[in-house]
Symmetry: C2
């Protein structure tokens, strides 16, 4: 069929899903009380539509007694010998695009993963807050291992921390018919930021202290995020002390060997400089000139339902201790007709490629099979 | 993008939705007890997946006491003066493709609607059974007005018939969060047949007496049904008596004036002659050479969940009285992301049109807005 007609249909899809189901404002539904399992399933999960449950976790002791705002409490409850994984980056942006190492042009980007170090929990807490408070700190720390870390013995599992929260979200468990596949803890600062990506899970995201600011785009908007393949790179430290103390003084970015490519969203919704902003608007008009993303601030005690396959970008505001702490529950998604439709949508090249496409700009339609972050891989 | 790549993606969609969700056999899930509202919503409605609830209506007095197999009971309960709508066709196929009137080539088809007559209910019952039993009868009668006829005062409403069935399907009402938008009664015979079409409703279809044989295809298979536009026509009778007694002796097909076109599925899964079968296989290979439709026989007391937007073709086997009687419940569907995806899919021309397409073979992608049968219109 003609490219123009198909293009109009793709743009029509962005509009129609908003008009029919999501709404045309950038707001998502806010519920003042937890939904019944039936309502949650019917109005949100089945419709693949986000909602914010205000105060959905307000009864957790971690929230109601503000337990997790205190270093002394957290350090005591986890014990002196507990080591956890800490993700270190120069700017708070792990799993994000960054200029190619040794590149002479900032517009050539790669996919940069954090430098991961094990650190004693008390030290990790201090480093997260300190590096978040100091905008000149050359290293930003974020504790955010997405491997069921809240329950994993190698991270936070087996501690009394579990008693401060619910082990699952009861109405979500009832609606989805299963317990969470993974429960993750996120301890970050105001400098931590998560770039646009999606997960193959139904996500219940509870903020315990501080605030998280989400930008959300439905899977139907996949073309608006300009998913492209980028060379994988990783931050490394030359400091010998780093391996044991997380006392990293400087990070440098190195391309992974052997080289491999990762499909990732090209859109950074908050360009750092006017030059970057101008370039982004010109190169990615579908995002910057199309319907705005849905926006949502999740405050302490709130639970966000982030539907499977939705693209999300996250920034955070810390509490008085300098940290934002969240617990998220990943429930298995159903790979049903919606998922099959999404895969079809992904194979459509939009906007149509030019006759001489620049290298590295292939669409990932026929890319490798789904990789899940839990298994140590990344999925865009 | 290249047509071949997109074509492969459309064919990939047919396979993927089966592999992930529907299953690769032509069978649908059969449940021996009614599902809980949560399970029904999660496993079937949300997934847009059919299921058969064996015995789901077995407790209805109409079924358990076989009340509706008896002319005397039905006639008595509806009263002497009750008139109902009767759909008359020469072959049992209303809302189906038929050779153009006065055409000299059987391959030129139009969309033929029934001749609709009001008839006293007792006479209608007799005519339905008699015309179904006699394969040479030039008129086949089918009582099947789809305008909430079971509850409408002008048809079956206000009678004691309602006490013989449940007024809704409780687990479906709980799951879908609303009562039925329409309840329809279908009184047909072994010669009545319904051609492939879809409805914009969640459909709970209960057979009371006799059997119904469904062929089902998911909305993702839309291209396999070769939806094309056909001139609308209607069967009319020249018999003056017809208007009051339904004593129609002969029907002829007339094109509607002013002319209008109706998009309809071109596939007849049961060609009448070897010549028709050969032509169908050649002209519609996507249907005849692709994955077989899901098949399901709904027996007296069973309830079929027929998901919104699924294409279905129906034949029937009568009970000993010569009739098949069913009640179906149309619940409002959610026009959510699945529906938006379907509309995108419909805009894809597949297989790609030849450079010189024959007239009358346009795809309906940009056709008129959805028309609902309830409002007196037809939706393919």
């Amino acid at each position: 069929m003609e490219g123009e007609k198909l293009g109009a249909a793709v743009a029509g899809l962005w509009a129609e899903v908003r008009e029919l189901s999501l709404g045309t404002s950038p707001r998502i539904d806010v519920l003042d009380t937890p939904p019944s399992p039936l309502v949650f399933l019917r109005d949100y999960v089945s419709a693949n539509k986000p909602c914010l449950v205000r105060g959905g976790a307000a009864h957790w002791p971690a929230v109601s007694r503000s337990l997790w705002s205190h270093d002394s409490y957290l350090a005591a409850i986890l014990g002196k010998d507990r080591h956890v994984s800490l993700h270190l980056t120069p700017d708070g942006r792990a799993d994000a695009l960054a200029p190619l190492p040794d590149g002479d042009d900032d517009s050539n980007l790669c996919f940069a993963s954090a430098c991961v170090r094990r650190a004693p929990f008390a030290a990790a807490l201090r480093l997260i807050a300190a590096s978040g408070r100091d905008p000149t700190s050359p290293v930003v720390a974020y504790a955010q291992e997405q491997n069921d870390c809240f329950r994993a013995a190698a991270e936070y599992g087996g501690s009394a921390l579990a008693a401060d929260v619910e082990e699952e979200v009861p109405w979500a468990t009832a609606a989805l018919g299963c317990s969470p596949e993974a429960v993750n803890l996120w301890v970050g600062s105001g400098r931590s930021e998560t770039s646009f990506h999606k997960d193959h899970y139904e996500n219940l995201y509870a903020v315990v202290t501080g605030e998280k600011h989400f930008l959300l785009l439905p899977p139907t908007d996949v073309h608006r995020l300009y998913v492209r393949r980028y060379l994988a790179a990783r931050y490394v430290s030359s400091s010998a002390a780093a391996a044991t103390t997380a006392g990293v003084e400087e990070l440098k970015l190195e391309l992974e060997e052997p080289r491999r490519e990762v499909p990732w969203c090209s859109v950074d919704p908050y360009p750092r400089t006017p030059k970057e902003a101008a370039r982004a608007r010109e190169e990615m008009p579908l995002y910057f000139q199309g319907p705005p993303p849905f926006q949502c601030t999740v405050r302490a005690g709130d639970i966000l339902y982030l539907p499977s396959m939705w693209f999300h970008h996250v920034r955070q505001t810390p509490d008085s201790s300098g940290r934002t702490i969240a617990v998220n529950f990943w429930y298995d998604m159903r790979f049903d007709i919606k998922y099959a439709y999404f895969n079809l949508l992904q194979t459509i090249e939009y906007p149509p490629p030019s006759r001489d496409p620049p290298s590295g700009e292939e669409e990932p339609g026929d890319g490798p099979p789904v990789e899940r972050r839990r298994n140590g891989s990344l999925c865009v």
